[in-house]
């Protein structure tokens, strides 16, 4: 990694950390479980690193296999994480509104 890229990456990291702090400290305790499950699903973005490992040309078989397992676990997180987050968020309802879609 050359210094220019490194510095840019550190900038991205620092700004993301700052932004993350600003955004996430505004999430009410009410939604902390969905928050954890959502950030988990989002960090399942490591899937894109796994994809490259699993399918790139000229990689040894070992790397493909590691990549395959990584793709699988990351996909479980993405699909399962978003699925469960949505299921949870669907349940939070306002007073008075009988949640019809929840009842089924």
């Amino acid at each position: 990694m050359n210094p220019v890229v490194l510095i840019a990456s550190v900038y991205v990291f620092a700004l993301a950390a700052f932004l993350g702090y600003q955004v996430i400290s505004r999430v009410p305790p009410l939604l902390h479980t969905p928050l954890m499950s959502a950030t988990n699903a989002i960090s399942g973005i490591s899937l894109i690193g796994s994809l490259v490992l699993a399918g790139s040309a000229n990689y040894p078989l070992g790397a493909h296999i590691l990549g395959f397992v990584a793709v699988t676990t990351a996909t479980i997180n993405v699909v399962g994480g978003f699925g469960i987050t949505d299921r949870m968020l669907k349940m939070f309802r306002k007073r008075g509104t009988e949640a019809k879609e929840v009842a089924k």
Binding site: L30, L31, T33, V52, G62
Partner: protein, 461 residues
């Protein structure tokens, strides 16, 4: 040179990053949260498509196989996991996320280990180390939450020294590999030690401290993903990983504050085993039992009732019974509220999700600071399977092991009904003076059964 497809790929990454941040911003309110998640899903989809188009992928078998298998397992989990099992599921997903990061790191090492610069190698070591220890640590946590592994702390003499030793060995291997990239052994030794360290880190921690541990593991898993971003020079990975890492970190700090303990104390204190002898001194008085009919009478003729749920509500799956009783009371004109302690349950926000599942409107769920001033004007506080979070010793007894922990001030209510399985102490083994107070009545039995019977009795009042 960048080709057109790689520009497209970078564009999808930028879009994904923006959508992720936007989706977390929309998490700040239950009404927008769900829409926000759709944005995040869109971002994720774009990034995946962008990667598949933008990188030179030749062998699709592994990719399609992994995506299909992962989607099946993930989809099955999304549909079938009950809300009460949410902590275990989340712990498992920390393990999966961390494992993916660790495996990508190992793969990168196999493929490009020799041509990496110092910085990349450092990030790689960090990624693999964090990923590996989070994987095993999260699996242990999930095992404890699922009761496969005993929930109480597993401790032995010299444990902290052993942990320290292994941590030192792990870090030395990391440094060795960092300075001498040709030392393949050092890399794999670090990997192995990290797996072992993850186990050792979590086994001494009791189930009651799980909210902190879950948040910490969340943070580690995120940071491992961010480190992957540094290794691959991929900004969307850095951003998403950092968001996840910081979210976990913020939650850890909040959970620690809610228990008035430091993170080091949680990790190395082995809470929940040393306590029995320290607290027996203030044991005293008798616990008064109340009959179902009397309890129902109290509730039915109250003006204000506050329910205080704890982990016992989750184990008894009593959330629906609780809501039914609450609705009956509301039908009689009783004002019903729910008081939620930040560390009630086994993960942050656990109780809110359970009650939301039982169709309790979120406006009826109150945070600790909001509800505490209301206890003195409350006729009946109903404690359902909660213990430490309502222990007045934390406030009144400076020698208590949980002294200084903010509590729900249930003991200030005019009367208290405690639903409890038996006379035994709660998980932490701490004596709770609340149970001996004159205003407190105990209703023994399974929480779900008790609540349903109370509901029936209220109907006949």
């Amino acid at each position: 040179m960048m080709t057109l497809t790689s520009y497209f790929m970078e564009a999808t990454y930028l879009v994904a990053s923006i959508l992720f941040i936007l989706s977390l911003k929309m998490m700040s309110h239950p009404e927008t949260a769900r829409r926000g998640m759709f944005l995040a899903e869109g971002g994720m989809f774009a990034a995946i498509v962008g990667t598949l188009i933008g990188t030179h992928i030749i062998s699709w078998v592994w990719i399609i196989g992994g995506l299909a298998l992962g989607s099946i397992i993930g989809g099955w989990m999304a549909i079938s996991v009950p809300m009460t099992a949410m902590p275990q599921r989340t712990a498992l997903s920390h393990a999966f996320g961390a494992l993916a990061a660790a495996l990508v790191g190992i793969g990168e090492f196999i493929v490009k280990g020799n041509e990496m610069g110092v910085v990349t190698r450092g990030a790689l070591g960090f990624e693999v180390m964090l990923g590996a220890l989070t994987t095993t640590g999260s699996l242990i946590a999930a095992g404890k939450l699922q009761d496969i592994i005993a929930g109480k702390p597993i401790q032995f003499r010299g444990q902290n020294y052993l942990n320290l030793l292994i941590a030192l060995a792990m870090v030395s291997c990391f440094v060795a590999f960092w300075i001498h990239p040709e030392m393949v052994v050092a890399f794999y030794a670090m990997l192995t030690l990290a797996f072992i360290f993850g186990v050792l880190l979590v086994i001494p921690i009791g189930s009651a401290d799980m909210p902190v541990v879950m948040s910490l593991l969340n943070s580690y898993a995120g940071l491992a993903a961010a480190a992957t971003g540094f290794v691959l020079g991929n900004n969307v990975l850095i951003i998403a990983g950092t968001l996840d890492g910081f979210s976990g970190f913020i939650l850890s700090v909040l959970m620690c504050k809610a228990m008035n303990r430091s993170i080091t104390n949680v990790l190395f204190g082995g809470f929940g085993s040393v306590i029995a002898e320290a607290s027996s001194a203030n044991a005293g008085g008798v616990m008064r039992e109340i009959s179902l009919d009397d309890a129902a009478m109290q509730l039915a003729f109250a003006n204000r009732v506050i329910f205080v749920p704890g982990y016992g509500l989750a184990t008894a799956q009593a959330q629906h019974a609780c809501r039914e009783l609450a609705e009956l009371l509301e039908g009689r004109g009783v004002t019903v509220k729910y008081a939620i302690h930040p560390v009630a349950g086994r993960m942050p926000g656990h109780m809110n999700v359970l009650l939301a599942e039982a169709n309790v409107p979120y406006a009826a769920l109150y945070e600790m600071e909001q509800i505490n001033p209301e206890f003195p004007s409350t006729d009946v506080a109903v404690v359902i399977g909660a213990n430490d979070v309502v222990n007045p010793d934390a406030r009144d007894n400076p020698n208590s092991l949980i002294a200084g922990m903010p509590i729900l001030e249930v003991d200030r209510a005019r009367s208290v009904i405690v639903l409890k399985r038996g006379q035994g102490r709660g998980f932490s083994g701490l004596e709770n003076p609340l149970f001996f107070k004159a205003c407190t009545n105990m209703l023994y039995g399974d929480a779900k059964a008790s609540l349903s019977q109370l509901a029936q009795a209220v109907q006949h009042v």
